[in-house]
């Protein structure tokens, strides 16, 4: 797999995420990519400072470098995983806490509700079986994302 193919995979995944309503995830990943990566200086740098006769030696510092095509793809896949896989696992764990065998609680429903109309519609977490099925599907999606990265690293 070469860098052109990695870039094409990035573009294809980006387009898929946008088409499925995850443009906010793409936005966060692209912000991170735009900022570049900070790396510690590997070797001392000599610079000529104004008003100084001799060059100065800079021993430590950080430099910012651009992402490689592989790093861009890793960043997008990481963001996809956090936004598309992890929420279903969180949801299942919360439902399990309140309704599972460990629960000892009388709580049946878990609801998110805002005080103002601007807070959006209330969300009630789904039934135990529904949430569990979603968490299992999230594990399959997680494996598919990992497979993409494994293949791109070849």
């Amino acid at each position: 797999v070469n860098d052109n193919e990695r870039s094409a995979a990035f573009d294809a995944l980006r387009a898929l995420m946008i088409s499925r309503g995850f443009e906010w995830v793409v936005g966060q990943a692209e912000d991170e990519i735009r900022q570049g990566k900070s790396l510690e200086l590997q070797e001392p740098v000599r610079v000529k400072l104004p008003g100084h006769q001799r060059t100065s030696r800079i021993e430590t510092g950080t430099v910012t470098v651009s992402f490689t095509p592989m790093q861009r793809l890793e960043t997008l896949v990481g963001a996809a995983r956090r936004a598309m896989v992890v929420p279903s696992i969180l949801e299942a764990d919360v439902v399990n806490f309140f309704r599972g065998v460990e629960s000892e609680s009388t709580v049946i429903d878990i609801k998110f509700d805002g005080e103002a109309p601007a807070d959006g519609e209330a969300i009630t977490l789904g039934g135990t079986d529904e949430v569990r099925a979603r968490a299992q599907a999230a594990q399959v999606l997680d494996e598919a994302l990992r497979a993409l990265l494994d293949e791109a690293r070849r």
């Binding site: 995979a9 499925r20 992890v86 929420p87 764990d93 998110f112 497979a147």
Partner: protein
């Protein structure tokens, strides 16, 4: 398989995996805060605390209502909290998304706040926000799809100071390249790359357990 075929697999997998209700940053952040709330309660149970779920009037609930925007311990509202009791510890309440008065007498939202029951009762009776003095622990929760922006670490440092250096964590599913260096330098608490079934979640739960053990008489 080609990269394009693998992306087609991702498209197929996405259909059953994602709950559309949580396809926006605000809703996922709320869910993450509630998961952290549950981790604190798990730690409490493991330390022998009894956990009851009640509404603002102290009545047991069958529907637990969480906030989606910052609110108050006091007032007439439909939101719930957990009551923690233990024969050898002072009574405490765990709240989600409530304002707590800081050292400057400015109120700040705490995503997860463990308050003494004295502070919480006084807040409800007086209609004022509890102060940082009544805070046993606070957690600032951050869910990000990408790397955590640096400004959030700066904000957390300010919040922690305002809360009088009470035990305050930043808990995030993400991380930042300088997170450990910055927070260690300022002696602040953090747990990054948090999600179910990973070591950081166990670590966080154990830290909370230690804190709860130390508040026992």
């Amino acid at each position: 398989m080609t990269l394009q075929e693998l992306i087609a697999d991702i498209d197929t997998g996405l259909a059953g995996a994602a709950n559309p209700a949580f396809n926006n940053p605000g809703a996922i952040s709320d869910l993450f805060e509630v998961w952290i709330f549950c981790l604190v309660l798990r730690a409490a149970r493991e330390e022998g605390f009894t956990v009851d779920f009640v509404d603002v009037g102290g009545n047991a609930v069958t529907t637990f209502v969480f906030r989606t925007s910052p609110g108050w311990v006091h007032g007439a509202h439909p939101y719930c909290h957990a009551v923690l009791s233990h024969p050898d510890a002072p009574g405490m309440e765990l709240h989600h998304g409530v304002r707590v008065g800081g050292q400057s007498q400015t109120s700040h939202e705490c995503d997860v706040a463990l308050l003494t029951d004295t502070a919480a009762v006084a807040s409800r009776a007086s209609g004022t926000d509890p102060t940082y003095a009544g805070l046993k622990l606070a957690v600032e929760c951050k869910f990000y799809a990408s790397s955590l922006p640096l400004r959030l670490l700066r904000e957390f440092m300010g919040l922690s100071l305002e809360l009088g250096r009470r035990p305050t964590w930043i808990a995030t599913n993400s991380t930042h390249a300088s997170l450990h260096a910055i927070l260690r330098r300022h002696n602040l608490r953090w747990e990054d790359e948090l999600e179910p079934n990973v070591s950081s979640a166990d670590r966080f739960r154990h830290e909370v357990r230690t804190l709860l053990d130390h508040v026992q008489r």
